[in-house]
Amino acid sequence: MAGEALGAPPPLVQEQAARGAAWLDEETRALIAPDAGSLPEAPASAVEANFARYFAADYLNPGHDQYVYRHPNGLCVVGLAPGHVALKEEGGITAVDFNVGKTDRSEIKVTGKRKRNAQHLQENSALCKVCTNDKSFIVRCCVKGSLLEINDRLIKQPNLLNTSSDREGYIAIFMPKPVDWLKIKDKFLSSEDYKSLRGIS
């Protein structure tokens, strides 16, 4: 009945489909039916579609590659780029420590719309330490601004950096002032330039 473009739900699920029997009227069904022919093979990912991606190669230290994803609202997500040396180590990253000497960045609680209590950090400030079996590497902020949040899931699941450093393994979110962003944005590489630099496809 409703649209040849959509297949029937699997038989085992029929009883649950009943709860939505009065689900959708014909008109709505027609409106939501997608045009299969116009769908791309693989769509852009949420990160690609929603952020401008910037890369820093050898940031302050050879092999310390990092990324900055900037959202149109000004927020910057910071993490390890695929070429980072720590990711190449035997056994990968085994621990993440946000305690960088003076403060434990994982302890700070930022509250409210005005983002009270956020630390104002410099590009070169230490953000955290990532450890492999026998080495540890300092990760820098790369962005000057307020530190809104650190990804505390990394503390319990450091492996996220090994499996998806470009998504769930992000390290922190910053809010730079527009002025400060403009000063540094041209120092970064685009995704294509970074890939050719490191020979990644």
Binding site: L6, Q16, A17, L24, L31, E168, I173
Partner: protein, 540 residues
């Protein structure tokens, strides 16, 4: 009947009234005479003795009539020209003549040749209503008096207390019950005439006719006498500024309304004793009447219904950043403009039960909304409302549709807000997964029943919202494969109000968990989202 006998009859009637009032309410007549001589008008005098309603019906009860009555009955009132007879030039020391009723507007003092004062004001009100072509079912008369009037009343009271406080009749006759206020008295005077002329009843608050009386000179003078006179400093500052003359009227008006509230507050705190020391009792005579401004205002009316948003490039409310509009149009403007025009309102506000992003369509039975129309000149009939709906629905650009558009009570507004957190919403999302889904996968999705998820504030709104963890419930989900495509599915879900659907699908870098991707153990992306049902009974 000849003119003289008619006049004599009226005279007799008036005297009859006076005899009764004198017996029931008046104190010894020399006290009444004293009030007249310090410049209190006849209506105010009667008010103070609790006899205003008698004056109300009797327009020929002038000061001279009262005076001759007093002369007849009280020897002390006799004996040559009396100061109270010259009150025809001065205004009442309490109400500035508001109760006569006199007034003057911007075009100078109004003359009353041939028309009674009450009729005159009634005509002026009628004109104000006609000018805007207001459509009325009822009205309420709002009266605003300068604070000086209350001060004057208090001054007269205290003066009488000073003079006659020790007399044994004082407590019974004067101010024995709650004295009728000038406002109440004026309302009593005007309402019957207004009801007749406007042909509607007085009472309901929805259409307000406001009579604003001001007396700049007296207000300023009173303020300057009060302690904590900050006003003096402000006046000198404004004179020192550049080119004050051009702006002085505006500034004066600002200063005067601040003046009034300042006077009220200060007087409340001043005890009677201090009052007597600050002001002249009885108050000085004043020769200028009050300035009257007549204005009308209808309280907001509400037109509600449900809207559908069929475009992915139209925002719900008007969205402008740095002078540039985001999207092509807004639901608010599309519906609001047509409604406001038919109602001939000053402006309108858009309220909806929740909202959707600019790129998300609102389908199904639509989302409940209200348009609040300010100061509508006319209230649309059911047919006119249908016509508005017709117009919107048959517009060339099929951005927005409305259903069940109708006039509603203001209670609907709070009903819309109430229980917002419990309202469920239903969606259809076009999603893509990084691997093909098996039957087991599909069952996992359909098997979901009131699943709790935790959403950290999505990155896309984190710049303007608090960083919080929000627990939300996914009530149920259904999923269908999109035939002719690989890895695309149509996901139907019903969730608690306030759930971020896009983030639930792609996971927002792991900040929403579990997400569709996490449940299935692969990557999931969302391409399109539609709201298919807003589960509310309202405006259904």
């Amino acid at each position: 009947m000849t003119a003289t006998t008619a006049a004599a009859e009226v005279d007799a009637e008036v005297r009859g009234i006076l005899e009764r009032v004198a017996a029931d309410s008046f104190p010894p007549l020399h006290a009444v005479h004293h009030l007249l001589s310090v410049g209190v008008c006849v209506p105010c005098t009667f008010r103070m003795f609790g006899a205003f309603s008698h004056v109300c019906s009797c327009t020929s009860l002038t000061a001279s009539v009262l005076h001759s009555f007093l002369e007849d009955h009280d020897d002390s009132a006799k004996g040559g020209p009396c100061s109270c007879l010259s009150t025809d030039e001065a205004c009442c020391s309490v109400c500035f003549g508001v109760l006569l009723p006199t007034c003057h507007q911007d075009d100078g003092v109004v003359s009353f040749n041939g028309i009674s004062p009450i009729d005159r004001i009634t005509s002026m009100v009628f004109q104000a209503v006609q000018r805007e072509s207001y459509q009325l079912d009822e009205f309420f008369l709002e009266i605003s008096l300068p604070a000086v009037v209350a001060a004057n009343e208090r001054a007269i009271r205290l003066h009488m207390k000073e003079k006659y406080g020790n007399e044994n009749w004082f407590k019974d006759k004067i101010f024995s019950q709650q004295t009728m206020s000038v406002k109440e008295a004026l309302r009593l005077l005007l309402v019957p005439s207004l009801e007749k002329k406007l042909d509607v009843k007085h009472g309901n608050n929805s259409f307000r006719i406001r009579l604003t009386y001001t007396h700049d000179d007296a207000s300023r003078k009173l303020k300057s006498l009060l302690p904590n006179d900050r006003n003096r400093k402000r006046k000198t500052e404004s004179r020192e500024g550049t080119d004050t003359r051009r702006n002085s009227t505006y500034e004066d008006n600002q200063i005067l309304s601040e003046t009034d509230s300042f006077i009220h507050k200060t007087l409340e705190c001043i005890q009677d004793q201090e009052f007597c020391s600050l002001f002249q009792l009885p108050p000085e005579k004043v020769f200028k009447p009050c300035h009257l401004v007549i204005s009308c205002l209808r309280s907001p009316i509400y037109i509600g219904g449900r809207y559908l948003k069929l475009s992915r490039n139209v925002s719900q409310s008007c969205w402008i950043i740095d002078d540039e509009r985001m999207g092509e149009a807004s639901v608010e403007e599309i519906i609001g403009e047509d409604v406001r025009t038919i109602c001939r309102g000053d402006g309108c506000k858009f309220h909806a039960a929740g909202r959707e992003d600019i790129d998300v369509r609102m389908l199904g039975s639509g989302r409940p909304f209200l348009i609040e129309v300010l100061n509508a000149r006319s209230i649309p009939s059911a047919i006119e409302v249908e016509q508005i709906a017709e117009k919107i629905n048959s517009s060339e650009k099929k951005y927005v549709r409305v259903r069940n558009l109708k006039l509603v009570d203001r209670e609907i507004w709070s009903m819309m807000r109430e229980g917002e957190a419990e309202k469920q919403k239903q969606y259809a999302a076009l999603i893509w997964t990084s691997r093909s889904l098996t039957d087991v996968d599909l069952q996992k999705i359909s098997g979901v029943n009131d699943m709790e998820i935790v959403q950290n504030t999505p990155i896309r709104v984190l710049h303007r919202r608090s960083p919080l963890e929000r627990k939300r419930i996914i009530h149920w989900m259904e999923i269908e494969k999109v035939e002719g495509s690989s890895n695309y599915y149509l996901l139907h879900l019903c969730t608690q109000a306030g759930t971020y659907i896009k983030e639930f699908v792609h996971g927002d870098l792991g900040r929403t968990h579990p997400s569709i991707g996490a449940i299935l153990g692969c990557r999931a992306e969302i391409l399109q989202l539609d709201v298919t049902d807003v589960k509310m009974d309202l405006l259904q």
